[in-house]
């Protein structure tokens, strides 16, 4: 049986349309096959909303993922976008290659904590270092969902499994890792908080260079019980938003405004604006080291810091570093690529 159930695509005249005349429905994919209540489905919802509100043509997007429940989700959004379900943990290299070939597309990668922090950790670190133009969402539930609930590398010390002994190994925090490796857009959010998540996704899609969002996304089947530090209740009780991002399209007037000092407006390369509203005034989302120190401090107090945690000056993305032409390499005509027979003849003379 084919398990990606295709939804009927009916145009509801009533549905609101965006600037390019599409409804939210047009940004959906096939029906989810995840467990009812899985955090990943909420993130899918947030992604759909973000793309819809940004008026991005679905077919100008490439959806990438690895293997895992989280990595299945790209089938559930943007039906009209090409998708690539890579092998386990290797999505970053697929994204690097695709972006190398077609720099004109919008890239969104979805991965899990096993996919990114265990088997894929090397690729995850190096795609950050290479600063490939893409939005990378890590749907973090502290376990391997698809293989039925083993602890992943993001499991916290003391977190209890459904059966067996609590985890005793230090967790790998992708946010601290990204800060250490020089990423310029780093956020953490929660699948249960769309209001926070959607604007961050929008900002991430508009960021120049690699944008990373770690989203706590509870696994209701294997890691949502009492004693788990990645459950809905634990996350709700321990998360602490330090900066709230508002995303504003290029055209629109910046409506929101806060008491000065509390907020900074950052203009993205496409002219849109991200307003970072500080909930904690001591927090400076533009200072990498301060952010690191702050997050660590809250961690020691058992708190999960969320929000758009760091937004840095755009470092050169891969194509800047490599000085490639603006036209996507995949679209260059052959005559611009093949030097031809005369050039070959001259070249041959140099090997005599």
């Amino acid at each position: 049986m084919t398990t990606s159930i295709v939804k009927p695509r009916v145009r509801h005249p009533g549905l609101p349309v965006n600037a390019i005349g599409l409804t939210r429905r047009d940004y959906e994919g096939s029906m989810s096959t995840l467990c009812a209540g899985c955090g990943h489905d909420s993130i899918t919802g947030a992604i759909i909303r973000a793309f819809f509100e940004l008026d991005i043509p679905p077919h100008k997007v490439a959806k990438l993922s690895g293997i895992g429940c989280s990595s299945k989700t790209p089938t559930y959004f943007l039906r009209e976008a090409h998708g690539f379900n890579a092998v386990h943990g290797r999505m970053p290299s697929i994204g690097t290659g695709a972006s190398a070939a077609r720099r004109d597309l919008v890239y969104i990668g979805v991965s899990g904590d096993g996919d990114s922090l265990s088997i894929g950790l090397g690729q995850f670190c190096h795609v950050i270092r290479r600063n490939v133009q893409m939005l990378y969402i890590l749907e973090n539930n502290g376990v391997y969902g698809l293989t039925k609930g083993q602890f992943s590398a993001s499991a916290d010390i003391g977190s209890k499994p459904k059966r067996g002994a609590p985890n005793r190994q230090a967790p790998i925090d992708p946010v601290l890792l990204a800060l250490t490796l020089g990423a310029t857009f780093i956020a953490r959010s929660f699948s249960g908080d769309k209001e926070q998540l959607v604007p961050i996704i929008k900002a991430g899609l508009r960021h120049r260079g690699f944008a990373f969002i770690d989203v706590i996304s509870p696994c209701v089947t294997f890691n949502d019980h009492e004693g788990s530090t990645k459950s809905y209740s634990f996350t709700r009780n321990h998360m602490r938003e330090v900066v709230h991002a508002d995303f504003v399209q290029p055209q629109t007037e910046i409506s929101v405004s806060y008491a000065p000092g509390d907020s900074t407006a950052v203009t993205m390369h496409d002219g849109s604006t991200v307003t970072l509203h500080k909930i904690d005034n001591d927090y400076d989302p533009t200072d990498r080291d301060a952010a690191y120190a702050y997050i660590r401090a809250r961690q020691n107090a058992d708190e999960v810091t969320t929000g758009l945690l760091y937004l840095g000056k755009g470092a050169p993305e891969m194509h800047d570093t490599e000085n490639t032409v603006d036209t996507p390499l995949a679209e260059l005509p052959f005559d611009q690529l093949c030097p031809g027979s005369i050039a070959l003849g001259q070249l041959m003379d140099r090997y005599r």
Binding site: R79, A81, G83, V87, A100, R102, L329, G345
Partner: protein, 615 residues
């Protein structure tokens, strides 16, 4: 006397600059119009270990490696013993007589020529670095006198290399050259009986290595994305690609690059980058060697099953595991043919020299895109890193790349609905689409079970339908790979099948045997899966030998599986010590298994670097 038909070896220490001196020798002889080959036998090390450079000249054009030498320049005391041992009786040994001749060097049946190279250079030059470097040029000078290399040509080459910018360096080189040359002239009666004589200038020949050639092929094929992780002996392929692109792929207006080279963090990543780029529509490739292919195995299976084009250059080296990274072998045939878990099969191309490395590189992209599958170009260290004398490469400006079935926006506009894996044309190949082109073109590329519509499936029949088509698709590649090259000899009942870099040695062996009354036919396979002509060739010969450079007769295995003949019905000649194949090895391997009255006598007679052909 041996004119333009002998071999000599230079033994030095690596990291002392001898490499360029040896290249200079090669190129000078090449410019004299004499067929020549040079084999660099170097250590997996950066400085201080033994290294050899072997040059063979042969006016008939037989330039396969020979294991025996008429002359040896022994500059490395740590290898004196074996350097003397490999010298033919009556041969010449040149050593640095700055110090008294060591016991190790004296052998009654050879002539030993001492030249105080270090001494003379220490006098003539300042600073240890220059002294060490010039010692190499000095032996070049001595050899020029001894075997009669045209001094003018050498000076010309030095001029071209250093030009006016590095005047001082050029002068030192001239002087060092002279020092060696004059000393030899004044001390020995030059030239020796083994000597060179100018031949007709070879206008349509060039001297080039296979990695450079393959890189140029990638440029001409229109490849724009190169991804790699450095590994000997493939590294120079990407260096060359970058070099050519700097020259040919700059946007004249903006100076920006019409290519990108990504140095990946490892081979798994390099494979992913190539697959990602090819999926997105760029021609993309990665050069690597055995260990890299092992690491890429999982990704190769994805490309096979999801039908993503990808080009892999496997510049093979010796052995399982790390093995001997600076030695050559043809040991990855089976791995590449069936890489990854589950039922898979991949097209392979087998270039025999840099000339084919260039052309097969171009073909590889056409095959990969036309059949939407990973393709392997199986080169090796000998082809890839040594300089070969080959015909100039040709390019037909009418040639356009075969991008295979890629639906354009217009085509997508017209069709009602697109299904990624539907065999519309009945040729086992389904059309693909590229991201960013058209909403209708969207599909989800996956390595998990999918049906012909391109949807996820766990249904047996739907799964089988797709993999059965894949099997037929790969089989159909047999007619798209370069056809085998056949050479026949009248009255031959013996057939020889070989591959890649063995070619020169096999051809020489065939002629050697023919001259001695044993005619053989020869087929060199150039691509896998094999076309039917391979089966026919085997059927047409009572005895078939398979000559290859690995321990387990991997080519023979592929031949048996594809043609259906019993593996034991094919005789095997395998050499896998890491040095290029030689005529001696091929002839030995054949005669040892041949029921023929003269076999024994011929075996005994089979040695030496020479190769006379009765006129």
């Amino acid at each position: 006397m041996k004119v333009n038909d002998f071999a000599f070896r230079i033994a030095t220490v690596n990291g002392t600059g001898s490499a360029s001196a040896n290249g200079l020798l090669m190129q000078a002889i090449f410019r004299m119009g004499i067929p020549v080959s040079g084999k660099n036998v170097f250590p997996s090390n950066i400085q201080g270990l033994p290294t050899w450079y072997e040059i063979r000249v042969n006016h008939h054009g037989y330039t396969a490696r020979t294991p025996e030498f008429d002359l040896v320049v022994a500059m490395n005391s740590s290898t004196y013993d074996r350097d003397v041992a490999d010298l033919e009786p009556g041969g010449w040994l040149i050593y640095d007589s700055t110090w008294p001749m060591p016991k190790a060097l004296d052998r009654p049946d050879i002539t030993t020529l001492g030249i105080p190279l270090a001494g003379m250079c220490n006098e003539a030059f300042e600073g240890s670095r220059e002294r060490i470097l010039m010692k190499n040029i000095a032996y070049v000078g001595a050899l020029a006198a001894l075997i009669n290399i045209d001094l003018g040509i050498i000076e010309q080459l030095l001029e071209e290399q250093f030009g006016s910018k590095k005047r001082a360096l050029l002068d030192s080189n001239y002087r060092a050259l002279r020092i060696g040359y004059d000393y030899a002239r004044s001390s020995f009666d030059c030239p020796l009986p083994i000597r060179l004589e100018k031949m007709a200038p070879p206008d349509d020949w060039i001297l080039i290595d296979g990695n450079t050639a393959a890189a140029l092929g990638c440029v001409y094929a229109g490849a724009t994305v190169g991804a790699w992780y450095p590994i000997t002996p493939s590294t120079s392929l990407m260096d060359a690609f970058r070099g050519f692109c700097e020259r040919f792929r700059k946007d004249p207006d903006t100076g920006k690059n019409r290519f990108i080279v990504v140095q990946a963090e490892d081979e798994l990543s390099a494979a992913g980058i190539v697959i990602g780029a090819s999926w997105a529509g760029a021609r993309s490739f990665t050069p690597t060697s055995g260990p890299g292919i092992s690491l890429m195995s999982e990704f190769i299976g994805l490309a096979y099953y999801a039908e993503v084009p990808a080009v892999f250059f496997n510049v093979q080296r010796t052995g399982p595991s790390t093995g001997m990274p600076t030695r050559t072998q043809q040991g990855d045939l089976l791995l590449c043919a069936f890489a990854s878990h589950g039922d898979t099969k991949h097209p392979l191309l087998f270039p025999a020299d840099p000339h084919e490395a260039f052309h097969f590189a171009v073909d590889a992209f056409d095959i990969a895109e036309r059949f939407q599958t990973p393709v392997f170009v199986l080169s090796d260290l000998d082809i890839g890193m040594n300089d070969w004398m080959v015909r100039r490469f040709q390019w037909d400006d009418a040639r356009q790349p075969d991008r295979g079935k890629v639906l354009t926006g217009e085509q997508l506009d017209e069709i009602a609905v697109f299904h990624r894996y539907l065999d519309v044309d009945g040729d086992h190949i389904a059309a693909r689409t590229l991201p960013g082109v058209h909403p209708k073109g969207a599909y989800f590329n996956r390595g998990s079970g999918h049906n012909k519509w391109g949807a996820y499936t766990e249904d047996s029949d739907e799964y089988i339908e797709v993999v059965d088509r894949l099997k037929r698709k790969i089989q159909s590649v047999a007619d798209a790979v370069p056809a085998p090259v056949v050479r026949t000899n009248d009255g031959a009942t013996i057939g020889i099948i070989s591959i890649g870099g063995c070619d020169g040695a096999v051809i020489e062996a065939i002629d050697w045997l023919a001259n001695r009354g044993i005619p053989t036919d020869y087929m060199r396979v150039r691509g896998f899966p094999f076309p039917d002509s391979v089966r026919d060739f085997i059927a047409a010969h009572a005895i078939v030998y398979v000559v290859e450079q690995n321990r387990d007769a991997q080519l023979r295995t592929l031949l048996a599986l594809e043609t259906g003949v019993a593996v034991n019905s094919l005789r095997s000649v395998c050499r896998y010590g890491g040095l290029p194949m030689s005529r001696k090895a091929v002839v030995d391997g054949i005669l040892e298994q041949l029921e023929h009255p003269a076999a024994g006598a011929l075996l005994a007679d089979n040695h030496g670097a020479r190769m006379e052909v009765p006129v």
